[in-house]
Symmetry: C2
Subunit: 153 residues, 2 copies
DNA sequence: TTTGCTGCAAATACTTTGCAGCGTT
DNA sequence: AACGCTGCAAAGTATTTGCAGCAAA
């Protein structure tokens, strides 16, 4: 049955597809593109299965990051955040605008054609120049959101 | 006297230019482009002034980040890293290649013309679309360095 | 002199780990 | 049955904070 791409990937690596791991993934899946902290994941999972422990959530997200199922982000507020990697050929790719004042995070997925062209040039250039195989990237913009700008300063 | 751009910026905000703060800045300045951890900064500062405390270093870097004198980076290993913002119209702008296996970090400053053109389009587009004033960005590439690739996957 | 800064130590916050029992394969 | 996974509690790091004394303005 349940043979989503991530389930398959887990089994392929001799990792067990437990209830807890599926629960963590389902929480992240339903919060698509919302970069949750471990605590937020834990709270939602706990609603559905009160016996689940925090440590299990930590272990699960670390495992998923290692296997390319989750992205890990650190926006500068001390807590790591996690988000599902879009499945093969799903759209879903996006980047972040972070407000330095209120820490609000906006997703955007505009300008992807421009970005793709830019990344193509830079990545292939870097791979050649530094003999470094690139398989992921992060692009963050920091600044000040509309609300915070209105509130003066 | 000592009226570097950051000194000026501190005074302008009614902040004191103390020995300790100058020491922290001089450590970062001499380690130009080396993204130091707080502990590394502390150790070097401690060599010059053994009485300095860790907490002072933490308070200093946080202050400097808030005032745009330092960049804060989190590459995913749990420790924050700091690096001087290049002074007005200095070159010095660069980005990072991070090896997921050995955590080595490479700086690069190639492809800046391509990047400038890309950022111009995206930033102005984002500012217009989301009413978000952008004043900083981070671009990281993650992958696998030459040494780690040779050691077999 | 005023007010902010420093060092110390204690307190927080986030994340990892040891271990005995349980659940997948 | 084997072995990996889980929950709990304890441990480990990184970072922040309270406070009395010190120093820049």
């Amino acid at each position: 049955m349940s043979d989503s791409w991530y389930t398959v990937r887990l089994r392929k690596n001799n990792l067990r597809v437990t209830n807890e791991r599926q629960l963590v993934l389902s929480v992240l899946d339903r919060n698509h593109q919302r970069h949750l902290t471990v605590e937020e994941i834990y709270l939602q999972a706990h609603d559905e299965k009160p016996s689940i422990g925090m440590a299990t959530v930590y272990r699960a997200v670390n495992l998923f990051v290692q296997h390319g199922i989750l992205h890990k982000f650190e926006f500068g507020d001390g807590k790591a955040r996690y988000e599902m990697v879009p499945g093969p050929e799903e759209p879903g790719h996006h980047h972040h605008l972070i407000c330095k004042k209120c820490q609000k995070i906006l997703n955007y997925d505009d300008f992807m054609e421009v970005e793709r062209k830019f990344l193509e040039i830079v990545e292939s250039g870097l791979e050649r120049r530094y003999h470094f195989r690139i398989d992921d990237h992060i692009i963050h913009f920091y600044g000040c959101c509309e609300t915070c700008a209105d509130e003066g300063s």
